[in-house]
Point group: none
Chain length 127, copies 4
DNA sequence: GTGGTCTAGACCACA
DNA sequence: GTGGTCTAGACCACA
């Protein structure tokens, strides 16, 4: 369900938070969908269950997930604009900016950068 | 000299390390160039001198900088390949991969992503 | 756990680095062994925790220790040759050379020097 | 005249101080002998003259050298016991102790250590 | 509980 | 002038 890279430097709980946000924004997780339980995920990814729990709590605080006594958490109802193209683009703006800045500092050309992006897009980077 | 974002989540000393790496790789800092002194930079960026010192030490350990007792640190001699296009591109590959992954998870198209990159490139994002 | 001499002229953090290196090389610290926590050691030796942290970070950069988020650091897997007699001897070669040079400059004889070494070996010099 | 290793980690001025001490203690520098001037040494070893100057001042403070207005510094008169075997041995005791400690921490045997010492003695390590 | 980062500020070593 | 080391102590991130 999630793609976790433990040694990427990005805290695991944050990786989960971001992926849920993206899946909700893109409609891959529709409102009402139940999420895997904390225990289940913790086992699957061999991660401490506090880590999952923290991610879920943060998502609940953001209003993206809903807690249901005794039952699995579910995806909350989302307002329309939360799935629009603009909203989704906005989620990766800071990352895109940082990448562009780094590329400029390395004195790469715009063409170099878009060639790199294209290459990465074509490689299936899902692991 | 450096662009520091204190609230970006990335430690300040690491931001400096990365920027120096890029400036050396792109030849903006040629071998032998003296770096601004630890105290000078600290004042300029209103940061503690140990923070700068930590960055410089790490760069020395990597072999990018050289310590000169009593004098400012200087850029070490770099091997030719270290400034080649390939090496420079390699420095941002992980960032590019992460961005592509995020875009895919948001179900953006390749065209959406390259439009975003182009836009950020044109905005002067140097601050 | 460590023998620290604060007034020896050798920075405390470096004394720790060297001792850990030796304990790993000699197998006294086997791969996987957890190290005492930064705070614990700091208390024990009445030293600031950053001092310990600096030593541990350097050892991590060298690949001798491994960071485990939220848990104590552990000794990394070492390659076989790293514990061989030759490797261990190599670690004190520079010190031995310097001592021999000093003895010669003092016009001591080889016998004088080895008598001194023997004496120091027999005294329990572990403090 | 002096054997200086700029990258040994030991400050240059200290290397000079120690070598003069040894040469005086072993009688290689007899009382009254004039020393090379600060400038001369600085040129020879391409070292800042403050460095030499600092070493000489420290040796003067210790009473080993004497300043003579307008003329080169000279070796001071030494008391008899200052050149005895015991005194000379005492000068390398701390170094010997540190070496023995390191060897023990590396779990070398007394035999391993004396073999190493012997080897280094035979190699002419005077460079 | 674990480690990491940062500041304020002292004091040292070197040129 | 240069950089290095250390403490006291705050606050954060992770499990």
């Amino acid at each position: 369900m999630f793609i976790l890279k433990p040694n990427s430097g990005i805290p695991i709980y944050r990786q989960i938070v971001e992926q849920v946000r993206r899946m909700v924004a893109s409609g891959q997780l529709a409102p009402g969908t139940p999420l895997p339980s904390v225990r289940e995920l913790a086992l699957q990814h061999t991660v401490h269950h506090m880590t999952i729990s923290k991610a879920y709590s943060q998502l609940e605080a953001e209003g993206l997930l809903e807690r249901n006594r005794g039952k699995p958490m579910t995806v909350a109802a989302v307002r329309r604009e939360q799935t629009g193209l603009q909203t989704r683009v906005r989620q990766i703006e800071p990352q895109a900016e940082a990448l562009v800045l780094a590329a400029k500092q390395l004195q790469l050309s715009a063409a170099d950068l878009s060639r790199l992006i294209k290459k990465k897009w074509e490689e299936d980077s899902n692991e």
